[in-house]
Symmetry: C2
Amino acid sequence: MAVVSQWSAVRAVGKEAAVAAAPVWSVDPRTGKPREEVAQEATTEEVDLAVRGAHAAVAALADRATRAALLRRAAELLDEAGPHVIEAADAETALGPVRLTGELARTTAQLRAFATVVDEGAFLDVYIDHADAGQTPPWPDLRRYKVPLGVVAVYAASNFPLAFSVPGGDTASALAAGCPVVVKAHPDHPATSELCASVLRRAAAEVGLPENVITLVHGFDAGVALVGHPLVTAAGFTGSVRGGRALFDAAAARPTPIPFHGELGSLNPVVITEAAAAERAEEIGAGLAGSMTLGVGQFCTKPGFVLAPAGETGDRLLKSLTAAVSDTAPGVLLDHRMRDAFVAGVAERVALPDVESPVTPGAGGEHTVSAGYVTVPAASLAAEGPHDLLLEECFGPVTVVARYSSADEITAVLSRLPGNLTATLHLAEAEGAGTAPGGAELLAALTPLAGRILVNGWPTGVAVAPAQHHGGPYPATTSTSTSVGATAIERWLRPVSYQSTPAALLPPELRDDNPQGLPRRFNGRQEN
Amino acid sequence: MAVVSQWSAVRAVGKEAAVAAAPVWSVDPRTGKPREEVAQEATTEEVDLAVRGAHAAVAALADRATRAALLRRAAELLDEAGPHVIEAADAETALGPVRLTGELARTTAQLRAFATVVDEGAFLDVYIDHADAGQTPPWPDLRRYKVPLGVVAVYAASNFPLAFSVPGGDTASALAAGCPVVVKAHPDHPATSELCASVLRRAAAEVGLPENVITLVHGFDAGVALVGHPLVTAAGFTGSVRGGRALFDAAAARPTPIPFHGELGSLNPVVITEAAAAERAEEIGAGLAGSMTLGVGQFCTKPGFVLAPAGETGDRLLKSLTAAVSDTAPGVLLDHRMRDAFVAGVAERVALPDVESPVTPGAGGEHTVSAGYVTVPAASLAAEGPHDLLLEECFGPVTVVARYSSADEITAVLSRLPGNLTATLHLAEAEGAGTAPGGAELLAALTPLAGRILVNGWPTGVAVAPAQHHGGPYPATTSTSTSVGATAIERWLRPVSYQSTPAALLPPELRDDNPQGLPRRFNGRQEN
C-alpha cells in the first residue's frame, strides 16, 4: 500500500507550492536514521482547509447507521491492511510485531465496539417528559437528547501508534458521536499515520461518506493552529503534561473556549501491604518487574511508584524484583529524544540523597536503554523537598520503590501524590476477604487518587469494556472523562431539549412511538 | 429570624478582628438607599477557613440517605421561613412577593426533586462487567460508578435570589452529588443569602450533618480567592459574560485546573415565520411583550433578539407589540449599576444607523426603567459592523426586532449569532404540522444555536424537569452541562472503576447482589 500524503495534491495546486514545505520524516528508532520522507508539515492555511473540509462533512455523519457502517468497514480494512500497518509501525516505533499485532486487534475491536454503541443509541441519553400542569412550576412537553459537537481535533500519542493514534479511541469515539475528526499525527510514526488515515478515508468513501470525515495533519505548528481554529469544537489528547497543558491552555484561552480532554501523565502508584508481601513477595516482585518493563516502560499506566514495606518481607520482594529486572533485555524507546530524557531523568533521581538503585536504569547500547529501579525511604517523601522529583512520571523502564515503616507513612506519602490514571493495591488473602483489617481503608484512601483502582493486579493493559474508566484527577486527565470504553463517546456530545415541538417536526429519536427503538427515560421511567 | 453573619464569631476571636472589615450592606433598589449592614466581606483567610470546613465535611456527605434527608429538610425549613425569606428578598431585589413566592416554591420543589434523584441513584451511572476472557484484549472484572468531586464553589446569580442563589440549583445538585458547597453571595441580596444559608445550615445540623456542608462568603475578592483555592474541585456560576469569563479563566489557569460550569449570557433568538405572523400576529406580539418584560426583562432567557417579517404582517405584529409594551409599567431593576448599564446600553443601540425605536426603552422614574424595543433591517446584520452590538445581550426590558425580507436573510443573520440558552420558533399551524414546508429546516437551523429549542412558546420560565437542558454553546455556558433539571448533578461527579476487587471490599453500589437496588448496566444489559 503506497504511503502518499493527502496534501500532495493540495500543495501542487496551491499557492504554497513555491514555498519549501517542512518535510516530515519517518525515523527508525533502532538506528536513529531517517527512513523516508512521508509528508510535509501542514501550513496554517492547510489546517484551515482540513478543518473546513471536516466541518463540511458534519451533516453527512448525522445518520447513525452510516456511522456504524463506517466504523465496521474501517475495522475490516485495517484488518486487511494489517501486515502493512504492523510493518510500518514496527519500523517507526520498534514496538515489535507481537505487541503491534495485539494493538491492531485492540484497535479494530474498539472500532467495532463503538459501532455497537452507535447501534444501541443509549449514548443519545434520551429523556422525554410530557407536559404536566401539576408540577411546580408546570412542565411543558420537553424532550432531550444529545447531538454531536462538531469537528473534533485529535492529538495522537507516541506510545500507541494505532490504539491511541489515527484509528484509535479518540477518533473512533468521535466518529461514533457524529463528529468529523482532524488528527494531528505524532511525529514518531508519520508513515503509520498516513497509512491508517488512508485506510479510514477509504472506508468513509466505501460507505458513501466524504473522505474528509477524517483528515491528517503533521507538524507542531499545525497542532497549535488546530486547537485554535474557530470551527474546532473539542479536542482529545494523549501525551505529556507539558504539551497537553499548553494545548489545554490554548483551548481555554480561545474567544470561544472548547472542551479539551487530555490524558497527560500518571505515576500509577502501587501499595503493597506487609501481609501481602509476606504472603507472596516473589510473585509481586516478578509481577511488578513485568508491568514496569512492558513495552520498555512506555505505557501511560506503568506502575511508576510503589509503596513497599521496609523490613525483611520487603527485602524478599525487592530481591525478586531485582532478579526479574536484571533479566530484562535492553529495549529501544520510541525516539532518541525520549531516550535522552530517560537517561537524564534517571540520573537526576539516582543522585538524590537516600536514593539507592539496586538495578541502575539508564543507557543500554547505543540506541537502547536498560530497565532498573530506585528505592527511597518513604519518610523522605512525607514533606515537600528535592525528593518530590520522585513523585513525577519518568517515561521509560524505571520505577520508584518507597519503603515504609508504618501505616502512617503510607498515608503521609499518599497525601502527597498528584492525580493518576490508576492506583493499585496488593493485599493478603485475608485482607481482601475482609477477615483481616485494613483492606477497605486502603481502598478508600486510594480512590481519591485515580480513575481506576486495581486490587492484586497490574495497571498496564486497559480493557476496552463499558465499565472501563481511563482517566483520573489532574494531571492524569484535564477533564472528568475517559478515553477508553463506551462512555468515551460522551466527550463529543452536548444535550439539546425541544420544548412543545410538534410531533411532525421532532427528530425520530424523540418521538413518542420510538421508531428507532432507543433506550430512553420516558416520563420518569427507564425503557430499554 | 435574625440575620447574623456566620463570620461574626470568627472575626471576634481571629487575629483579623483588629482590621476594619469591609461591610456588606443590603440596599433597597426602589430607593437606592442602604437598608442594613448584614455581613462583612470575607478575607482570604476566611475563605480558606470556609473551604477547609467544607472539605472536612466531605466524608459526612458520603451517605446518600442522609443527603436526601438534608435536601428534604432544607425544603421544609425554607417553606417554613417563607414569609421572612420573601420579605427579605423583596426588600433587596424589588422582584415583588408574587414572583418571589413562585421562586421559593420552585426552589423547594427543586431541592425535593434532587432528593428523589439521590434516592433513585441512576446518577451513579453504575456499570458492571464481569471478567471475560473472550474479549480482545480480555476483560478483567470491572465495576464503575461515580463519586463526588469534593468542595464545590457556587457563584450566586443577581436575578434569582433563591432559585439560582444560596439554596438554588447549583447548591442543591452539588449537595445531592455529595459535594459540600461554599457559596459566594451575590451583592444584590446579601440579607436573603444570609437568611437562606442559616436555614440550610440548620437543616444540616438537624439531619446530623456538619453545618459546614454549606457556607456563605461575601465579597468580590472572596470570589476570586474561592475559585483559586486548592481544595475547591469545581465551580458553578450564573451571571455576566465578563465576570463569568474572568472566573472561568482563573479556574483554567490554576496549577490543577477545575471544571467551571458557568452560565454567562444569552440573546435567546426568536424566529417568527411570515405564515405564523399572518396567522396570529397579535397573539405573538402580545406574547413577546409579556416574555421580554417579565421580571423587568431580567431573565437569562429573555427573548432579546427577534427575526420578524418586514412586510404588512410584520407591521401588524409590531403594532400589537407596541401596544403591549407601552402598557407595561416602569419597573425597578435589581440595582442601580444595572439601571445605569441598561440606560447606557439602550442609548447606544438606539443611536445606531437604521435603528428605530417604536417604543423607546430607557430611564423611567428616578429608580425605574421603562420597557421598549428597537427595530433594524435584518440586512444590516448580515456582515460584521457596528450593528453587532445588537447581537449582544442587553440585560433589562428591551428586545431587538430584526425585520427580514427573505429566507436567505434569516439564514444570514442566524449564522452570525453567538451561542444561546434558548432559541424559539413561531410557526403557522400547517408549518408545525409538516403540511406546509419550512418548519423542519428552521428547527434544524436553530438547533446548533442553543441548548433548548421551543416551538410556539416563550423561553422565559425554565421547568425543573428531567428532560430540561438549561445551557448552550458559549457564551450561554462554559461547558456542555445544564444548571437546571436532574442531569445538573452530573457536573459534580467523576467516574471511578474498580478492577478485580474482592466482593468484601467493594462499595455496596457495585456489588453483584445490588443491595441498594440501583439501576445499572450489568454485563451489557440495563437493569432498572
